[in-house]
């Protein structure tokens, strides 16, 4: 069990996508399985898992949630080995994008709410589409 600098147990969320390269196309089905370890004896209030995109870069962060589920208390395991699985079909947009001042990233998030008024977030990034990274145009003509 790992511990945070404040001495509280720091859980570990192991999440696996159904594609090893974590690369999907718009409209593809996505299945993810996760397992929470290292909880210690701190009681859980709820667990949320979601599939979402967010922006990074110079601008304020924007967020779009595609799939969301909240389970009160410890999540019911759906597999015999104690993992929880969820499934969704990805939308047509937006695609993952590595821009210069705007980046769009897709991820699966697992958020654990503890009774002691704190939460723990685990984020697992994947790609939607296969766009090359953008580069800043400096010359008048490319």
């Amino acid at each position: 069990m790992t511990r945070s600098p404040e001495g509280r147990p720091s859980p570990v969320v192991s999440l696996q996508f159904d594609r090893v390269d974590r690369r999907y196309e718009p409209g593809d089905p996505l299945t993810a399985r996760y397992r929470i370890e290292g909880l210690g004896d701190e009681p859980i209030e709820a667990v949320e898992h979601s599939v979402l995109w967010y922006t990074e870069g110079k601008g304020e962060e924007d967020l779009g949630v595609h799939f969301f589920a909240r389970v009160e208390g410890s999540p019911t395991t759906t597999e015999s080995d104690g993992t929880v699985a969820f499934h969704t079909r990805l939308p047509a947009s937006p695609l993952s994008y590595e821009g210069v001042i705007v980046k769009v990233r897709w991820c699966a998030r697992v958020r654990i709410f503890f009774r002691a008024a704190r939460d723990f977030v685990s984020e697992h990034v994947f790609d939607v589409g296969r766009l090359p990274p953008a580069r800043l145009v400096t010359a008048e003509a490319p």
């Binding site: 110079k58 962060e61 296969r130």
Partner: protein, 436 residues
Amino acid sequence: MRLPRIFGKKRGHRRTGSQIWGTVGDAAFHAALLLAGFIFGGLLVSGVAVPEWRINHDYLPARCTVVGKRIERRVADRPPGAWHAALLLRYETDGTAREAWAWPGPAAGGGDRGQAVRRLAAWPLGGEVPGWYDPAAPGTVVLQRGYNWWMWLLALLLPGALTAFGGAGLLRAARRWGKSEEHRAASAGLPELLDPVAQRPRASQGHPAVPCCDDLVNSPGTILRYRLPIESPENWTLLGFGLFALLWNAVLTVLAVQAGLDLLGGRRDWLLFALLLPFALVGIAGIAVFIRGIVLASAVGTTQLEIADHPLRPGGSYGLMLAQAGSGEFRELSLSLELEERATFRQGTDTRSERAVVWRQPIHVWQDVQLSPGTRFEAHATVRVPAAAMHSFASEHNSVRWMLVVHGTPARWPAFQRVFPLVVFPPTAGAAEVSP
């Protein structure tokens, strides 16, 4: 119990405010506004609206005889208010004779003492006037009924605005309380109504985060299918220059008139004269810049761009028709396809935007174009959207925008640039995989 931290980490090393304390502060602010709305509304309703409504609905008519009159003013006012006429009335309620003072409405009020005394002559002693008394308190009589519309407007508008703003903010804070950002974003409801300040772009049907292109396909072209709307931020700049010139010169005129009157009256305010000179120079410069902007905007002539189809798809080719009106010679007229990223962020209390062009493809360049009045230059070209192109993207603070850009270099005028936004959709499912 552990109190939430004032500061928390957002992402990486950047520190941000605690979400819990932020929500508490937001809720407290809006609760104070809501409370102020209720108190203000309650005072207006109980002090103005209800008494006025009772006068018009509950008070009973009575024939009143004027048995005394006086003028008065409210000594509580600082400085003391205007003089008003007051009448001592005698009337009967249920067989009982009563006497009470009443104020005969706006006709009796305002002005100095002499005017008020002269007004009293309109109500001779022994004369009869119609009145209405309160059946619950027969000693109260009024000489006028009706509604003060502005008071009702005040009673509804100010407390209503405070209540609506405070209530919406409190409801928004309540919706946020204890919820993760994913939960809030996923919650259905009325987020736009609760947060009217937020500007969420309208998305295309079935394509989240891709801007809607309804406004780009509502104008048919003369030769091709659609005429693209022009984006003209320079027009807003021109309007800004015009407003500045108008306001500045209005202030300058007031100061100049004052200085002229002083001069005619034999007074010379040298400080005012010294200030007027630089003010006048700025005013003249403002007018000159505005007129120059108008001349430049109108002298070059309009630019129109038509496209064969819209929205665009990565890998697709689309016919274009460029039309340039005006007269004279253009050394160069060029058309290019550009991809621009735009990010909006806060720095302290300022909101700033930054742009970066991340892709530019020349489509065509026309050299030595000769324009003549009455006819327009027309040329056809084809634009090809790269197969590995990012689609148009728009969220609240970030966007990726495609646009066609016309650059012109007239022989006699400064160079100009005109922008025509486009919407590029993501590739359709099953499209060929593209390597960078």
